[in-house]
Subunit: 317 residues, 2 copies
């Protein structure tokens, strides 16, 4: 959980509410009850934690530590698809050592946010027999703690990662080769996030190309990837998908993953329409459903009745 000071072509905000835990949990909560582990400083507004609770996010795992909350300062004015970090004040996050409650140790669905791979390992060590484990990471850990990150990949089911980071992690030149390589490292599914273009899913049986919902007025892309992952995991949890399905019921596994990614794209499309998670605060289920139906229809192609005729008539070799 964090304060973000962000500048985008649409304007800027100082110390607005942010952090991947916020974006993730707010986006997952419409689908299932959520339980979070995080740390904030004494400056973090209690009312905001209460609001999260009212939305179905159990915040009893949020530790309030002496000192200030993590603060990120970033800039998107050159490129909406990539944040430029100007400053990072770790503050209370510097000594964050996530300890799970008894309830949390028995969670079926686990998502390891983008933190030090050592801590991601530690969290996973504390969970008993999860049904499905998702995970995020970033270039900082790919460069600095690659070995530990690669060890983590052996233990998880779904890696959600940016396109640039997927290429960096695998040292490959394109998403097809990179995703193939990541599957070899352990996960049963890789979701490559492509900003305004959408997402790419790779499993051992399937490739799915998801388009992002087109947005006229992108105010702030911060949190889009976390929202995407939150809604995706929330949808998967609500669907009861289990890690064993990746082998035993591949049809349902791939079908549900595809749906979860569409759900993720839709959620992210709302996130970018405001600074912080203001747009998500007021999001209604009918708005969500309309955009879901609309995005599905925007990628549909009716099979041409005469494709065979057309192709056979022509001059292929």
């Amino acid at each position: 959980m964090a304060f973000d000071s962000v500048k985008t072509p649409a304007g800027k905000v100082e110390s607005s509410l942010g952090g991947s835990v916020n974006y993730f949990s707010i986006s997952a909560a419409p689908f299932v009850p959520v339980n979070i582990v995080a740390v904030v400083g004494e400056d973090y507004p209690k009312a905001e934690l209460e609001w999260l609770n009212s939305k179905g996010v159990n915040t009893s795992g949020v530790k309030v530590a002496p000192g200030e909350t993590f603060h990120w300062v970033g800039d998107y004015t050159d490129d909406l698809n990539e944040a430029k970090t100007l400053s990072t004040f770790l503050n209370v996050f510097e000594h964050f050592d996530p300890q799970l409650s008894e309830t949390q140790r028995h969670c079926d669905y686990v998502f390891l946010g983008n933190i030090d791979p050592d801590l991601q390992h530690s969290v996973l060590d504390q969970v008993e027999n999860p049904k499905l484990v998702g995970c995020d990471s970033m270039n900082f850990w790919i460069t600095g703690k690659k070995a530990r990150l690669v060890q983590l990949l052996e233990r998880i089911d779904i890696l959600s990662i940016n396109e640039k980071e997927a290429l960096e992690l695998t040292e490959k030149g394109n998403v097809l080769e990179a995703s193939e390589e990541i599957l070899k490292m352990g996960p049963s599914a890789v979701v490559v996030k492509r900003g305004e273009y959408g997402a790419f899913l790779r499993t051992h049986q399937d490739i799915f190309l998801a388009s992002a919902f087109p947005i006229k007025n992108v105010v702030d892309p911060t949190g889009a990837g976390d929202s995407f992952a939150g809604a995706m995991m929330g949808y998967l949890a609500s669907s009861g998908v289990d890690r064993s399905m990746a082998r035993t019921d591949t049809k349902l596994w791939n079908e549900t993953l595809r749906q979860s990614i569409l759900v993720g794209c839709v959620m992210a499309s709302f996130t970018v329409e405001s600074f912080s998670f203001d747009r998500l605060r007021e999001l209604s289920s009918s708005e969500f459903k309309d955009r879901f139906v609309s995005l599905r229809s925007m990628v549909e192609v009716h099979p041409p009745k005469n494709l065979d005729d057309i192709l056979c008539a022509g001059a292929f070799s």
Copy 2:
């Protein structure tokens, strides 16, 4: 028609066959007979024109002028999605003044390649009552002859243009606003090409998001956009689509446009797999059809049975 000297991460070629007319016509020919207007120098191999003819491309409109063929020198080593032009030798192309034959004046389907908007006007002036007119352009003309280009847009049905150029032409910040603006300028459809991410279609009734077919080994992106446009126009012509349908039968108009864009994406995916149009030379109709079916299935999402339940259960506001 041109010679291209191109460097990509996969290697380089010197004076290989290229030019948008080649890529376009080879990609359209599997769908309908094609008739081209172009100029080459005395150095252009006659056997290649004969080969084109054998593929269903009528080359009687190719003028052989004294001097050398247009020659483009480009580099993609930094970014496969954007060519860096190192040199352009116009040669015989400098004084190109396209004159249509009697047959060409009665063509139903016309595509105005990316040349000086004055010449595009002149070609269109020579065609009698076409059923459908497509058009391409580029940043050079957007910057240098914008007024004439905008006048041309009033006369055409489909503009096929790169994303960056669409933003430049309209001075808008995103594809949604840019495409809206371009529709106001005249065309009934705008196809925004997004390189490895696919294409975006906008009509007065519809938005279609097309994903590119993922390719493991992109050898050379040169000609991908021309191949895309060629296959798209070829498919539209073979389907008998007419400009009036944009008003009278919008369902069929949009459905056929969507199909044509998928066809274009598939053709372009083969083009980038080799230097020049080597891959297209050996392309079979079954290879094309397999990739078409495969790409369609890669974007499909089954509607979740329980979306209403899932969304209503949750914590939307």
